[in-house]
């Protein structure tokens, strides 16, 4: 009983927590006519129509003799209107007394898949997708290369000031980005890098505290025996890294790889400031925000855009979710 109540409670919370995704999904396939109507159903739907003598007429729920019938409105009138029964069009027009404006339309399930195509063209989705994938891929390669080397140094070598340097590395996690942003931006500006991918990609090749820490924790768990055997066989430090350490460290490398890819995919601020003058080079997060500032009156298109932005990171998470949670545990708890 207790387990039923607690599980049910958790289901209710997780449903509320994820309900915005459901709303975004239904909203993304609605047409704008439905969104502006307050009594429209939650699912994507169009008013039902019936074709009578070559014209399409809207179908309403009409109370007739105590029952509700679905009738198509042919002639609108203030006090009485004429309807036709879609089931028996040959029976001719039915006159109904009352204001047709009080009637509720009949809705039929009608997802507007075309919204996605519309957004595809409006935001130039293929271009944004290419930029995002290219930035995330190159950034991930840079992060993996640099962080592996640095983590290897911290995990396997003794050198003066090691403890101090490691503390310094971890301290950068707590440093507000604003305190380095302005000179960094100014330097990139003087180098002529604004409006190029360089300010986003070059730092990835210079390691970062989170991923170094994560990889170091993985490398520390790998026993030294094989290193030493390889050393006796005459392998240099670089050779040992590539052929002995890395083959044993692949869970850590996958974790850093997926983290870095998703981080880069989702990053908004850096591409915003460095690529604001180069729309053709922007990734999808900047493209989506720009799309929102123009089309904020079309919620269906905005939500279609959000889904087109989130589908790939979410898929990556579903495939690699074990690596995500383990990575967060290692970098978050063990520090």
């Amino acid at each position: 009983m207790r387990s039923f109540i607690i599980t049910f409670f958790a289901i209710a919370i997780v449903a509320a927590f994820l309900s915005p995704l459901v709303r975004a999904a239904t909203m993304s396939v609605k047409n704008s006519g439905q969104i502006s109507q307050t009594k429209a159903p939650l699912y994507p739907a169009d008013p039902e129509t019936f074709i009578y003598h070559g014209h399409a007429y809207d179908v309403y729920n009409v109370p007739v003799d105590g029952a509700t019938r679905e009738l198509a409105l042919v002639t609108k009138g203030r006090t009485e209107s004429e309807f036709v029964d879609p089931a028996h069009p040959d029976a001719g027009l039915i006159t109904w007394e009352g204001s047709w404006r009080t009637l509720e339309p009949v809705w039929v399930f009608a997802p507007q898949w075309g919204n996605f195509l519309e957004v595809w063209d409006l935001i130039n989705y293929p271009r944004l997708l290419f930029n995002t994938i290219a930035l995330a891929t190159i950034g991930t390669i840079g992060t993996l290369l640099s962080c592996t080397l640095v983590a290897y140094a911290f995990a396997r070598f003794r050198f003066p000031a090691k403890g101090f340097l490691f503390t310094l590395l971890i301290a950068t996690i707590f440093l507000p980005a604003a305190v380095t942003l302005i000179p960094t931006y100014t330097i990139f500006y003087k180098l002529g890098w604004i409006g190029t991918w360089l300010p986003l990609l070059v730092p990835a090749f210079l390691a970062n505290a989170y991923d170094v820490f994560l990889l170091r924790q993985y490398l520390l768990t790998i026993p030294h025996d094989l290193d030493e055997a390889a050393q006796i066989d005459g392998a240099g430090p670089f050779r040992i890294l590539v052929s002995v350490v890395l083959p044993q460290a692949w869970p850590g490398i996958i974790a850093v790889g997926v983290f870095s890819f998703v981080y880069s995919w989702n990053d908004y601020f850096s591409p915003l400031i460095y690529l604001s003058t180069a729309p053709d080079l922007q990734p999808i997060s900047v493209g989506l925000a720009a799309f929102h500032s123009i089309h904020y009156r079309s919620p269906a298109l905005i939500q279609a855009g959000t889904l087109m932005t989130l589908v790939i990171p979410v898929l990556i998470f579903i495939v690699f979710q074990r690596f995500f949670t383990r990575g967060i545990v290692i970098s978050g708890v063990e520090k």
């Binding site: 387990s3 958790a10 997780v14 080397l149 440093l175």
Partner: protein, 311 residues
Amino acid sequence: MSALPSIRRLRQPSLARREALWGYVFLSPWIVGFLALTLIPMAATLVFTFTNIDLAQNEPVRFVGLDNYARLLADGDAWRSLLVTFKYAALSLPVGLIIPFGIALLINSRYIRGRAAFRVLFFLPYVVPFVAGVLIWEGMLNAESGWVNGFLHFIGIAHPPNWLNEPGVVYPALVTIGIWGIGAGIIINLAGLQGIPTELYDAANIDGAGWWKTLRHITLPLMSPVIFYTLILGMVEVLQYFLVPLVINNGTGDPGGSTLFFNLYLYKVFFTYQDMSYGATLAWLLFAITLAISLLLFWSARRWVYYAGER
């Protein structure tokens, strides 16, 4: 026999030196990065505050003494935006600590079924791109078509607020938008909870301690390092908060200046007006405040953070 020790004495230091050299070689990407992207820019930020640097640079660069600081003292917008940030932090920080902790407690409950599935589902929104998440929640909080107000109507509230457009309710609304970022916090709290030895709970159980007493006297003290870590990171993050209002209304500060956060003001000074030296002054103030609060928290930690290894 007599030659051996001297060879060893000669070779030992050179081996150690070789190892140190290789260590620095592998470290070099980060050392370059630390110098070029952290240390030098930090120092430059401080130097900028005493100059008149701007991006266009219409007049030659010169030292202006404390002019930027004098401007800061007299700048009502800066202090108002700092107050906005503090007000928001006062709501956002506690929520950001309590909710992930509470959800982790729930998932960790021994009565729950399908724990792994809950863990995945609660973490999932964490990977939703920031901009997409903000726009999804903006729709969710829409006064007419949003499901939040739809639900409030359903339970009988006739006039629910227009969340993102009324100064009185915009902070709770922004905190709600931020709720999708708690995935990492949940996982960290969960790992912390799973690290608490079960013997302690068994002992408490035998002593007849109820749920609340167990939470208060076992779970909370043993979780204090995790809570401290999330508190510090959350504090650093919330003092820099501004991207959500930037996406929602292009950083206008609407409604009524209530979302003109300190970092949004800094961003405008630096990016829109390209006033590097005054922007740097604001950045340095933000850094000083962050550092002061961090030191305060670390000092207070001695009283409430419990480390199992310590005596």
